[in-house]
Structure formats: C-alpha cells, structure tokens
C-alpha cells in the first residue's frame, strides 16, 4: 500500500487531486481510498487530503500520519506547515516549485522532486495568476516519480472527473510528467517543531487568546508593495483592509503588517493614486 498526503491551499485543487488519484488507481484495478481533512476550509487557507492505493482491501480509515509520499501544491507550505512530518524513511517529497527555489527543505533521507506546476497551469490558462489550479500538473509529476498509478489511468480519470477544460488539464498532466525533476543534491533539513503541550482547559469552551498570534501571511500568494513617495495619506488602504493588516504611522503613512496580510488586493484596488501594487509572493517586486 502506498500512502500519499497532499498539502495545498483552499482553491488549488488538493482535494480533487487526491480523488483523481483514487479514480486512476481504480481504473488500474487497484483499491483506492481518498478523503480530505475537514477543517476550516477557506480560500487560501492550508488544506490537507489523503490518498491510499493498495493491491488488497484497505483496512484502515484514518488520516495518514506516516506517508510514503508528501505532495505540496504550494511551495510556501513546505516551511510553514508540518508538511513532511512522519515521512517514511526514503520517502518522496514532491513540491510545486522551481528546482532552484531557495525555500526547499526535506527530511534527510527523502527524495525531493520538483515541478513548476504554476508555470504549466498559467501557460494553459488554468486558474488565475493569484490562484493557479495546479493539481493535474502535479499529478502528472507524481505518476512519473512514484509510479503509483499508470499514466493512461490518470489520463482517463482526468477525462472523467475534472469538471472543466479537460484537454487543458490533460496537457497540464503531461507537462508535469515531462517536467518533473528529482533532486540529487543535499537539501536543508527542516528544524523539528517542539510538540506543543496542551494547556489546561477553562471551565467551558472559552477562548481567550487574541487571534493576532496566528500568522495568516502563509495564505498569501501575492503581496502589496506600497510606494510611499506617491502616497497622499488618504488612509483608504487602512480603512478597507478586511484583515486589519495595514497600520498608519504617526504621520499617517500606511505600513503593511506583513504577517497578517492575506494578499487580497483590496488596498491596491481602492488606492486613489495607485501607489500600491500587488506583486507575486517571493518575487522582488516591479
């Protein structure tokens, strides 16, 4: 049995990727199982999904704690979420990233594979620049590096299941298959996270910790660049920020609270002199 854990963001298609893999495994005559982790599903919020593929009936119904393969649909999650926790010795980490991405980390014994699925999806017009739909490209890469299902079964599954634009998705799958690179050089090892001790409970389910300890920056795929030299200090960006992620300094100039900005782009849209531009996360800006 091969156990695969998918990580993605709400809207990227991680859940559908796991289901597509299950459909393909079925067409191969294998026994599949896939399901999403049902937590707080929000566009941009991290989501996980699981898939098992086996030659025999699967006798377990749990989330996957010790995966053979971890698939990360958005490279930023690799460092910010416990993506590779429990990865089996010699397991595979497949990341949607350029091979030269400086943020790549993996457990010491892991095989690290990369595929630039963002580029593939955007070239084929799947999704938007902010949210490219990368699942089919990543699945193509997954089949190439793991052989978990046959390429032809994956093609048939995509034709049957993908809700829209089947030919572009097939093309993305093939481009992912062709474009995946397996890293042979050493990659940095992620620092282990201390497992948090559960604090004592209050009398009832009473929450008292301010939410600003939560860093929603990891939801972001683009970020605002504020060029203060043209700013008129109208404070529209502050006023309309749904995440309270823009503060005004003593002179009335806006400052981005980067750890909380989700990159919605409202500040850029409402800025009268257009001094705010949205740039892709990770890029140097315009």
């Amino acid at each position: 049995m091969m156990e695969i854990r998918f990580w993605g963001r709400g809207g990227q298609g991680a859940v559908l990727a796991a289901e597509l893999l299950a459909q393909a495994a079925f067409l191969d005559g294998k026994v599949p199982q896939s399901f999403p982790f049902f937590g707080v599903e929000r566009r941009g919020a991290p989501v996980t999904a699981y898939a098992r593929v086996s030659d025999r009936p699967i006798e377990v119904r749990t989330s996957i704690a010790t995966p053979d393969v971890v698939v990360v649909l958005e490279h930023g999650l690799l460092a910010t979420m416990p993506t590779t926790d429990g990865l089996r010795e010699g397991g595979t980490v497949l990341v949607n990233a350029r091979a030269d991405d400086p943020g790549l980390v993996a457990p010491p014994s892991a095989r690290l594979a990369t595929v630039d699925a963002d580029r593939i999806a955007l070239e084929l017009g799947l999704g938007t620049a902010a949210t490219p739909i990368v699942n089919t490209a990543v699945l193509g890469a997954l089949v190439r590096v793991t052989g978990v299902v046959s390429p032809i079964a994956l093609d048939r599954a995509i034709e049957r299941v993908v809700p829209a634009r089947p030919s572009e998705n097939l093309a993305a799958c093939h481009a992912g298959y062709a474009g995946v690179l397996v890293r042979t050089t050493e990659v940095p090892v992620p620092t282990p996270r201390p497992s948090p001790r559960a604090p004592p409970l209050p009398e009832g389910p009473l929450a008292t910790i301010p939410s600003d300890v939560l860093r929603t920056a990891s939801w972001r795929t683009r970020r605002p660049e504020i060029r203060l030299e043209r700013c008129t200090r109208c404070n529209f960006c502050w006023k309309f920020c749904p995440d309270t992620a823009i503060a005004l300094d003593a002179l009335g100039f806006p400052q981005l609270i980067a750890e909380h900005c989700k990159g919605c782009g409202i500040c850029a849209a409402v800025c009268p002199p257009k001094t705010i531009a949205m740039v892709a996360e990770g890029s140097e800006g315009p």
Binding site: G39, G204, P205
Partner: protein
C-alpha cells in the same frame, strides 16, 4: 416554614420564587402551563424580581436561558413532551457551554397519536444530552429538588444543567401538603448567583468556539469528569439541605425494605408510591421483597444501585416509556449496573403506565407474580394492555 396544599406545578413555581431566579423564559404547553402562569404572577405581583422573557418557542426559551446563564444570571424554564423534544439541540448547548440552567419537565407522552398522559419518553430521550436528571415522587420532592438542583448545577465542581422531572397529572395537577420553607432559610441554603458567568462584559473571550478534534475531545472529557462529580457533590448539598430545612432528600437512590430482600422492584417517579404500598402488603404476607426508587437517572448512580441491590435474586424494573431498545430504558441501565456484580440477579423489564395508564397496586402485584416465572432472556413485559379492575375508565 408553612405547610400548604400545592400541586407539583405550584411546587415548581414556589421553588423558583424562593430560589430568586433572575431570568425565566418559557413557552406554554399542556400540562406545564400552570408552572409558568404562577411564575408570571409572582413577577407581576412583585414577589419575584425576575426578567420573564415570553418567547415564541421552546427552542428559544432554552436559548434565552443559556445566553443569560453565560452572563451569570440564575435561569429557569419549564416544558413538557413536544416542547422538550424541540429543545433537544439546545440541551447540548446548555451542557456543552456549562450553563447551569434548571428546567422543570412535566413528563408527558409524545405524539403521534396525541396524548397528554404521563409518560417518560420525553425526558428519557434526552438522557444523553449532558443534563443532570432528577425524577420526583411527591410534590415535596419537586420543590426540594428544584432548590437542590440550583445548588448542584451552580457548584464549581459541576456546572451542568439539571432537569427536575415530575409525572404529568399524577404530580403536576395533584395537590397534596408541601412544606414551603421561608425565604430566609432558602437564602441561607442557596445564595444569589452573582458575577459568576463564564462571559464577562469587557473581557474579550469567546464561549463555544470552533475546535479541532484534539480540543473537542478534551472538552467532552471535562464534561464527563464534571458529571462524575455530581454524586459526591450531591451528598454534600443534601447534608446541608437537611441542616437547613430538617428534611432529607434521599440521595441518588432511595432503598426501601431491601434488607434481606430476595426480590426487588425498581421505579422512577410516581409509580414508586404505589410500589411501596405493594411491598408493604407483600412483606406482611411474609415475602422478602423491597423497593429501590431511583431519584437521579443522570448521571446514573451505578455504584449506589449495585450496593442497594446486593443479595437480591430477582429484580423487576418498571418503565413508564417504551424507548425501542431491548428493554425499558431504566431496566437497561439497571442491568448494565449489575452486569459486573459478583452474583448477577435476574432483571425483568416491565412497561407500566405508558401514555398515562394507571400503575395500580394490582398491576404491581401482577408484575411481582410474573417475576417469579421470568427467565434471563425475557423481553419487556407490556403490563398496560389488559383492562385493570381497579382502574377508572376516563374520558
């Protein structure tokens, strides 16, 4: 203290007045109505300084109480039958939010077909909602148990809501003498609930959060631990009750003539009175029989039941409801409690008094006779299907 002739419903409303309840919310349903009418009158006449919220449904009645209790108010509602069923969702909210609401339940059959008769289906169907459940036998017990329930529910060790159940008509509309304590005595036993809400205005906090599985299970475990503290806390409260009012409440279970008994009857609610009379009669005839009345059905006082029934060979449990299990609901609990006993007695489930049928002395005697021929794999015995010679035909 005065001795007054009161109905069970009136006993509920007097207890609410004496407890100085701060927020009452209720929706009318037969046969609960006279409880809330009397409370409305207490408020209108200035005898009770409470906010009475006239809601548009039982669901809203309990929501009003849960929200008011979260802010620290002492709250009360009362309902019956369909109204309790409509509250079901909020019952979980009350216990999960650790809101010490006290509710009077007048046990009435559920529809269809329509019936206003006494039947425990309504509250038995709520036994897994995290509420403490008391079943009263007399109007005195009704009044006393409501006062006790506030002490118990508001105790820091417990903080769980409580139902005080009384049989429709056999208590709700039956008048009998009741000792009504003075306001001063009750104030000493049950001080005002002030400033002890979970939510405090001005303090940013959220009650009822979304949780992950890891936290959810921990909160459930906390509730279970609080439930496990009910019986020990109840002992302390009842000792104090006895000191304050000179009466005993009887604990979670009330054994009667079980010394040396080889046969026992187990009852909840008003059937206990008639069963006690039959036990006396059979004891006079030389039969070694006793009675165990269960006052506290949730949490189920398993250890107390096991201790009280030790040495008994044959047990008959009277259930005033059919809950579609292998036996009556109370019988199932009793069987479960005795499964690990060193000598496992034979437990027979009798269904008696369903939909308001009388549980007569003759019926109880027949049940005892049936016990003698019972076997371990007996299904429930429906006692109500034959006409009873001493039963008055109604309607």
């Amino acid at each position: 203290m005065t001795l007054e002739v009161l109905s069970g419903n009136r006993a509920q409303s007097e207890a609410v007045r004496l407890a100085r309840v701060q927020v009452v919310a209720a929706y009318p349903i037969t046969p609960q109505t006279t409880i809330v009418e009397a409370i409305a009158d207490h408020v209108a006449q200035g005898r009770l300084a409470a906010e009475f919220v006239r809601v548009e449904s039982e669901h809203s009645a309990l929501q009003v109480c849960v929200s008011a209790a979260a802010l620290g108010a002492r709250t009360y509602t009362a309902t019956s039958s369909q109204g309790l069923l409509l509250m079901h969702e909020l019952l979980h909210w009350a216990s999960g939010a650790r809101a010490p609401v006290v509710m009077g339940v007048v046990n009435r059959a559920v529809a269809p077909p329509w019936s206003a008769g006494a039947d425990h289906t309504d509250s038995l169907a709520q036994r897994d909602t995290g509420w403490i459940q008391f079943y009263a036998e007399t109007n005195q017990e009704v009044l006393d148990t409501v006062l006790e329930a506030y002490r118990l529910s508001e105790d820091r060790a417990v903080r769980l809501p409580a139902m005080v159940c009384e049989d429709a008509f056999y208590l709700s509309h039956t008048v009998e003498p009741v000792e009504v304590p003075t306001a001063e005595a009750v104030d000493a036993f049950l001080p005002a609930r002030v400033g002890r809400g979970i939510l405090v205005p001005g303090v940013p906090s959220r009650l009822g959060s979304f949780t992950g599985p890891e936290d959810y299970v921990r909160f459930r475990r906390e509730e279970a631990a609080a439930m496990a503290r009910v019986v020990p806390t109840l002992r302390v409260v009842e000792e104090e009750f006895c000191r304050s009012f000179g009466r005993t409440l009887g604990g979670p279970v009330v054994p009667y003539r079980l010394e040396g008994a080889t046969t026992a009857l187990v009852t909840i609610g008003t059937a206990s009175t008639t069963a006690r009379g039959v036990v006396d009669e059979l004891r006079r005839q030389g039969r070694a029989i006793g009675l165990l009345k269960i006052r506290l059905l949730r949490p189920f006082p398993e250890a107390e039941v096991r201790a009280a029934l030790e040495g008994v060979d044959r047990i008959g449990v009277l259930d005033r409801a059919w809950t579609f299990g292998p036996t009556g609901a109370v019988a199932a609990e009793v069987r479960g409690a005795l499964y690990g006993a060193p000598r496992r007695p034979l437990v027979t489930s009798f269904l008696a008094g369903i939909g308001g049928r009388d549980v007569t002395p003759g019926l109880v005697r027949r049940a005892v006779e049936r016990l003698d021929v019972g076997s371990a794999d007996d299904g429930p015995v429906w006692m109500d299907l034959e006409p009873l010679p001493e039963e008055v035909v109604r309607g």
